[in-house]
Amino acid sequence: MTLLGAVGLWILLWQGIAMLVNLPLLLPSPWQTILAAWQQWQQPMFWHSVLMSLLRIMGGFLLAMLAGVLLAWLCTRSQLAEALLAPIRTVIRSTPVSSFIILVLLWIKIDSVPTFISFLMVLPVVWHGMQEGISTLNPQLQEMARMYDFSRMKALRYVTLPQLLPFFRSTAATGSGIAWKAGIAAEVIARPTLSIGRHLQDTKVYLLTDQLFAWTLTVILLSILLERMLNRLFKVAGKGGKA
């Protein structure tokens, strides 16, 4: 079965249940959701909010990718760093995101909360994934690079990075999903002025279920778009180590 067929089947099922329930306040139909989304897309405020959410969440995601790689590198090179920092990684991974959001609300500006939360939730994923990648680097290839007098840059480009790219790709894919979910959750609680999360919270307050579904649809579409863009980016980057 193709992806389109599977999605179509689930939408049909959704339509069937919505017809059975027959109460849009509880479960709007797919058509009502698309209609609500279409109305949202006409408003400049919608795009402004989406852009601001994207910037906040992607900012946190990119910072986490950078910090995660650096921490992974540090922890692979230094046992002391690993001993000192591993408990922090475990605490971040095990703490519920809502605890962090509420705590962080007291410390930093509301606009920065989603960025910080996205960063915090993605960081341990990248850190752990990249540390695993670095620890599985093939020592025989590193020795070969030394034997053939590879410069540091040449070894990095042709030997090290191509080995790490699959790990980077998989952590980035997992991380971008986590960044989205955590970032939107942070926006729901922190309610920055222009944000998807604030609109989601408003739909709950005013019982606008079709709007809630429409915003959720937007979040899903953006998440898919982002993942595709990342994949495209990695494909281009992957060619850097090839002939």
């Binding site: 020795e143 070969m144 034997m147 053939y148 040449k154 042709y158 030997v159 191509p162 090839k242 002939a243």
Partner: protein
Amino acid sequence: MIALNHITAGYPNAPQVLHNLSYAFDEPGVYALMGASGIGKTTLLRVLAGLEKPVAGNIVGTQDKRIVMMFQEDRLLPWSSVLQNVLLGMQEPDDQQALEILKHLDIGGTAHLLLRELSGGMQRRVALARAIAFNAHILLMDEPFTGVDTQTVARIAPYVRNAAPFILFTSHSVSDAAAMGANMLELVDCSTLRIYTAQTAT
């Protein structure tokens, strides 16, 4: 002349793979290093390549020389093309020269293929091409013809034997050594390296 003087070398879990080993090679020349599996041939190459530091003894005649070792494993970059793998062995990458080397090794048509598209014997020759492309004065090769059929070895050996002024390679095949026109040596035990005789064939 390259001389090994009372070399003792090994690894943490086998510290004396070589023990008080001495030998003098006349340079230039092509030498085939024979001997039973696990006797220390690879360790000897690694010591000469500078990859293992002897715990005792010294080596004369390798200082300031360009040395390269072709490993027992191909150690090629699977994400790069055949040509790119060879070019990476060069200090100053030269497509024409790399293609020429591949041609001499009977794999001229594979330049733009990925490694996974090649047979084991062909991949071995790519590793050999990279080692030759390094343009070393001392070329050390650990079983360079593994997986390569006898006829191909016979065809490419005259080219390989002229790839560097001093060549030392390990082998279990007398016919490969003969095809290379090599002086055959045998590592008998951890401290004895001597001229190979048919009676001591492994």
